[in-house]
Assembly symmetry: C2
Homo-oligomer: 288 residues x 2
Amino acid sequence: MDMQNFEKELLSCLPEKDDKIKTVISSMEYSLSAGGKRIRPFLVLEFAKLCGGSEENAMPFACAVEMIHTYSLIHDDLPCMDNDDLRRGKLTNHKVFGEAAALLGGDGLLTLAFETALSEKAVSLNGYEKCAKAALTLAQYAGAVGMIGGQIIDLESENKQVPLETLQIMDEKKTGALIAAACVMGCISAGASDEQIQAAKDYAMNIGITFQIVDDMLDITSDTATLGKTVGSDIENNKSTYVSLLGLDECQKISSELTEKAVECLDNFDGDTTELKNFAYYLRDRKK
Amino acid sequence: MDMQNFEKELLSCLPEKDDKIKTVISSMEYSLSAGGKRIRPFLVLEFAKLCGGSEENAMPFACAVEMIHTYSLIHDDLPCMDNDDLRRGKLTNHKVFGEAAALLGGDGLLTLAFETALSEKAVSLNGYEKCAKAALTLAQYAGAVGMIGGQIIDLESENKQVPLETLQIMDEKKTGALIAAACVMGCISAGASDEQIQAAKDYAMNIGITFQIVDDMLDITSDTATLGKTVGSDIENNKSTYVSLLGLDECQKISSELTEKAVECLDNFDGDTTELKNFAYYLRDRKK
C-alpha cells in the first residue's frame, strides 16, 4: 500500500471547512490525520488485489473502514469511556476540541464512512450492488452485534475477572469484527466468491485474536521504552488477559496455531498471498 | 401512516438481546420506543405513496431516518451537550443506562440506520440502486454538512446573539436536513424524477424552517401547561430567535409565506397531496 497516497485519499473525503461548521470538520480532520498503522485499509486493498481487483476501486472502502476505526477511538477516549488524554503521543480529540466537538466529530466520521462507501466515486468504480454490499458489511461488523458490542463487553468487564470465553467473544467483536469488515470489503470490491469471502473472514478472525494475545504477552514481556506505552498495566488493573488465564507458554502456542490457521485460509485464493502471509507473521512476531 | 405498524417495524430492526451485549441493545431500544411524533417516517411514507410507490417498500428507509433522529437526541442530551435529564417526560438515555452505554447506544442506532436501509429486506423490496441512493442521501443530510453541522452551530451560538443568517443556516441543517432526507428517501423508493426530488427537498426546507419559527413563537405566546415544556426559556437563555430578531408579527407573516411555498412545491406531483398539505398547515397552526 502506498501510504502517502492513502493519506491523501483519506483526507480528500472530508467536506470543505466551511466557516460555520469549521470546528466539527477540524475535529474530524485532527483524528483522521493522526497517523496509525492503517492496518484495516491495508487489508481492504490487499484482499481486493488478491481477488483480481484494483487498489483504485477498493480505495473508497479502505477510507470508509479507517473512518469507522477513527471514530471508535475518539469516542473510546472520551471521559465517560476510557478518559484518555493522549493517543499515539498526541492529545486526544476532546482535549483539543472539547467533549462536545469530539462527540460530534466522531458522529461525523461514522456518518462520513457510509457517505464515502456509497459516494458517486465509489459507485462509478464499483457499481451500486458492490457499494451497497460493502456498506452493509461495514454497518453489520461496526454495529451493536460487532465492534460496538465488543466495547460494551469491555466496559462491563472492567476491574473484574472474566472467563476465557468472554475475553474471546469480546475480542472477536471489538478487534476482529472491523478487521473482518476490511477483508470482506476488499473481496466485495473485486467480486470474489462466497467461499473466498468466508476464507477472508476466517483469516481476519484468526489474525485479530492473535493480535490481542500478542498485545497481552507484550504487556508482560516487553519494556515501556520498546512498547511506547506503560507495561504491566493489565496486572495493575486486575484485568483478565489471555496471559493471566492461560500463561505465557500456552499463549505463545495458541498465537502460533492461529497464525498458521490464518495463513492456511489464504490457500483459497489463486493470487499472490505473500503480503498477507507476511502480515500474519508480523502480527505474531512483533515486539511492539 | 399506521402508527402501530410503524412502531412494530421499527423495533423489529433491533438485533436480538444476546446476553453479553444486552446493555447496548436495551439502550437503543429504550430511546427508539420512547415515542415521539414520528414526523420523518411519516414523510418518507407519504412521499413514497405520492410518487406511486408503496409504504411497504419505503418502510426500511422510514425506520432508518427515525434511528438517525433518535441517536441525535441521545447524544444531544448527554452532559457534554445539552445535559438534559428528561425527554418527553421520561428519563434521558444516559440517566437510565449511564453515559457510556448512552454514547454507544447512539452509535449503535446511527450504524443500524445504514444497516437497515441496505438490509436484505430493503434490497429485496427496492433493489441495490435505490437502497444505495437512499442510504447515501441519509448520510449526506445527517452528516457534518447537514444535521451534525447544525448541532455544532447551535453549540457555538449558545449564550450569544447571532444574526438571522446564522439562525437560518443552523435550522436548515439541524432541523431541515433530516426532514429533507426523509422526503427524498421516500421519492427514491418510488423511483421519482429529479424534478420531484428537488420539489420534495424544497417542501422539506420550507416546513423545516416554519417548524422552527413556530417553536420560537410558542416560547413567547404559549403557556407551560399547553406546551408541555417551560415557556420563556429562550429569553431567559438570552438566545437569538426568529421572534427576538424579527418580532411576532413578522414571524407570523413569514411562517405563512413559507407554508404556502411548501404547499406549492406539491404541485410537482400528480398524486393525492392532501395529507402533505394538511401536514404543512398543521405545523404552521399548531399550539404546542
